[in-house]
C-alpha cells in the first residue's frame, strides 16, 4: 500500500505542489492528468527521490520513504525518453538493476530471458539501444524497470513520442506485464483516453493541488477533465459523416 500525505514543494516563492495526498493499493495504477506546469513531473521526482519535498510523507506499507535516497527506495522513474544506457546491449540494460543488486549471473540470465520473451525482445538481446526502434527502446525501458519488481513505478508520459498503433500495443503490453509482476504505478499522461485505459483510479493535478477520483464515473463527471469535449468532438465527427 502506497500512502502519500501532504506533499508540498516550492521553488523560491513559487509554489509547485500544495498539500498533495493520495493512496494506491498494491498492484493498482493511478492515472494522473494535468496541464503543463501543474507539477506532475515534480511530484514524480519527489516520489522517486530525485527531488526533495519541503514537507509531507511517502509511506510504503507503513515504512517512511521520503528521506531515503533514490537508490534505496526501489521506486523507479520512467520518462518519455527511454534513457537506455548507450554502451550496453538490450540484455545488459534489462539486467542492470539486478547486477547492481549483486544477483548471480545464472539468476539474472533466467529473469532477463523470461521478461525479454514477455516483452517480445528475445531476438534483440545483443543489439545496442541505437539499433532499436522507439517502441523497442521503451519496451527495454519497461523491462529494466520491472525486472527489479519495484515498490512503485512512476511513468512520466512514457508513450508520448510513439505513433498511435505502437502506443496502443504498448499500453496493452504494459498492462499485461504490470499485472504479471503486480506493479503499483502512477501513470502521468496528457491523453484522456490513455488515462482511462491505463488507470484503475484517477487524479487531476491543478496548479499544484491534486484531486483524486476512485471510479471512472467520478472522473468523467469532472467538468475540467476534458472528457465532455472529447465526447462532443467525436459526436460531431459522427454527425458530419451521416450528413
Amino acid at each position: 500500500m502506497i500512502t502519500v500525505n501532504h506533499i508540498a514543494k516550492a521553488y523560491g516563492t513559487t509554489s509547485i505542489l500544495k498539500d498533495v495526498s493520495f493512496s494506491l493499493t498494491s498492484g493498482a495504477c493511478r492515472s494522473l492528468l494535468g496541464a503543463s506546469g501543474s507539477g506532475k513531473s515534480t511530484l514524480l521526482k519527489i516520489l522517486a527521490g530525485l527531488e526533495r519535498a519541503d514537507r509531507g510523507s511517502f509511506l510504503y506499507d507503513g515504512e517512511e520513504l521520503i528521506s531515503s535516497p533514490a537508490e534505496k527506495r526501489s521506486v523507479v522513474y520512467l520518462s518519455q525518453d527511454p534513457l537506455l544506457f548507450p554502451h550496453m546491449s538490450v540484455y545488459d540494460n534489462i539486467g542492470y538493476g539486478l547486477r547492481v543488486r549483486k544477483m548471480s549471473t545464472t539468476e539474472i540470465n533466467k529473469k532477463v530471458s523470461n521478461l525479454a520473451e514477455q516483452l517480445e525482445l528475445q531476438d534483440h538481446m545483443d543489439k545496442l539501444p541505437h539499433q532499436l526502434s522507439g517502441g523497442q527502446r521503451q519496451r527495454v525501458n519497461f523491462g529494466r524497470s520491472i525486472i527489479i519488481t519495484p515498490r512503485m513505478l512512476l511513468l512520466d508520459e512514457p508513450f508520448a513520442s510513439l505513433d498511435a498503433v505502437t502506443r496502443s500495443k504498448m499500453q496493452s503490453l504494459y498492462q499485461q506485464v504490470a499485472e504479471t509482476y503486480n506493479i503499483t504505478s502512477l501513470f502521468v499522461t496528457h491523453d484522456i483516453r490513455e488515462a482511462l485505459v491505463m488507470g484503475d483510479t484517477y487524479g487531476m493535478l491543478r496548479r499544484g493541488t491534486l484531486s483524486c477520483y476512485d471510479t471512472q464515473a467520478q472522473f468523467i463527471k469532472q467538468p475540467d477533465s476534458g472528457i465532455a469535449e472529447e465526447i462532443s468532438f467525436w459526436k460531431s465527427i459522427e454527425k458530419n459523416d451521416r450528413l
Binding site: 521506486v75 544506457f85 542492470y96
Partner: protein, 254 residues
C-alpha cells in the same frame, strides 16, 4: 570540377611535405639539379648508433603518454567538479581558453620566472608541468561537452534502479564518456608530442624531445637526419588517428 581541384590541392597539401621528408630520409648526397640523390637506408641504421634521435623519441613518447594520462584524468575530475558544483561553469570554462590566446613560447617566457624559483627550470618535471598548463584546460573543455541534461537524467535513472554513486560512475558515466576519454587522451598526447616552443623555453635545451632535436638538426643543416626525425615524428600520430577512428566508431548516445 571545383570539387576535384580542391581534392587534388588538399591531397598535394598533405602528401608533398610527407613525400619530401620520406625521400630525403632515404637519400644521401643530394645536390641540385638532380631530382633524387642515391638511395640509402643508412640514416635509419644510424639511428641506433648514438645519433640521439631514438632517445629523443623515447623521451617524447614518455612525456606525451604521461601528459595524456594525467591530463585526461585531471581534466575529467575537474569537469565532474564543475558539473556538480554550484558555481557558474561558463565563466570558469572561459578561463580554459587562456593558454590558447598566448603563443606557447610566450607562455613559456611568462612561466620561466616561476619555474626558476621553484627549481623546475631545465628539468623534465618542469616540461611536464608546463605542458599541463595547455593540456589540462584542453581536457576540461573537451569533457565539458560530455556533461549535459542527458547525462544527468541517465545518472538519475540509474539511481532509481538502485545503483550507488560508485556503480553509476564506473558502470554508466565512464563507459558513456568513452568517446570523450579517447578523444581527449589522443589529443593531449598529440599536443605534447608536437609541442616545441614551451618545451624549448622551460626545458632550456636540457630536455631534448623529438621536436627540439629536429629543430637542432635543421639549424645544423643536417637535412637527412632532420628528415628521418620528421618521419619518426609522424609514426605515433598516424597510428593514433587510425586507432582513434576504430575505437570511437560506436555512438555513445542513441
Amino acid at each position: 570540377m571545383v570539387g576535384r581541384v580542391v581534392t587534388y590541392l588538399a591531397l598535394a597539401f598533405v602528401s608533398l611535405p610527407l613525400l619530401a621528408a620520406i625521400l630525403l630520409s632515404l637519400t644521401r648526397s643530394w645536390f641540385f639539379p638532380t631530382i633524387l640523390g642515391p638511395w640509402t637506408s643508412q640514416h635509419y641504421t644510424d639511428l641506433w648508433s648514438g645519433s640521439g634521435l631514438v632517445s629523443s623519441m623515447l623521451l617524447s613518447l614518455g612525456i606525451a603518454s604521461l601528459i595524456s594520462v594525467t591530463s585526461t584524468l585531471i581534466g575529467g575530475l575537474i569537469s565532474v567538479a564543475l558539473h556538480y558544483g554550484k558555481s557558474s561553469t561558463s565563466r570558469l570554462l572561459a578561463l580554459g581558453y587562456f593558454p590558447y590566446a598566448i603563443a606557447p613560447v610566450v607562455l613559456g617566457s611568462m612561466l620561466q620566472y616561476y619555474f626558476l624559483r621553484i627549481g623546475l627550470f631545465g628539468s623534465m618535471g618542469g616540461v611536464l608541468l608546463a605542458q599541463s598548463f595547455i593540456t589540462i584546460p584542453f581536457a576540461v573543455l573537451i569533457f565539458s561537452s560530455f556533461w549535459s541534461d542527458h547525462t544527468t537524467r541517465l545518472s538519475a535513472q540509474a539511481r532509481t534502479l538502485g545503483a550507488s554513486k560508485k556503480a553509476i560512475l564506473y558502470g554508466v558515466i565512464i563507459p558513456s564518456a568513452r568517446q570523450w576519454i579517447i578523444l581527449c587522451s589522443v589529443q593531449c598526447f598529440l599536443i605534447s608530442w608536437l609541442e616545441f616552443g614551451l618545451t624549448r623555453v622551460i626545458g632550456a635545451g636540457e630536455v631534448r624531445t623529438l621536436t627540439v632535436s629536429i629543430m637542432a638538426l635543421a639549424s645544423q643543416a643536417s637535412i637527412y637526419e632532420a628528415a628521418v626525425a620528421c618521419c619518426l615524428m609522424l609514426v605515433p600520430p598516424v597510428l593514433l588517428f587510425l586507432a582513434q577512428h576504430k575505437w570511437i566508431s560506436t555512438p555513445a548516445h542513441p
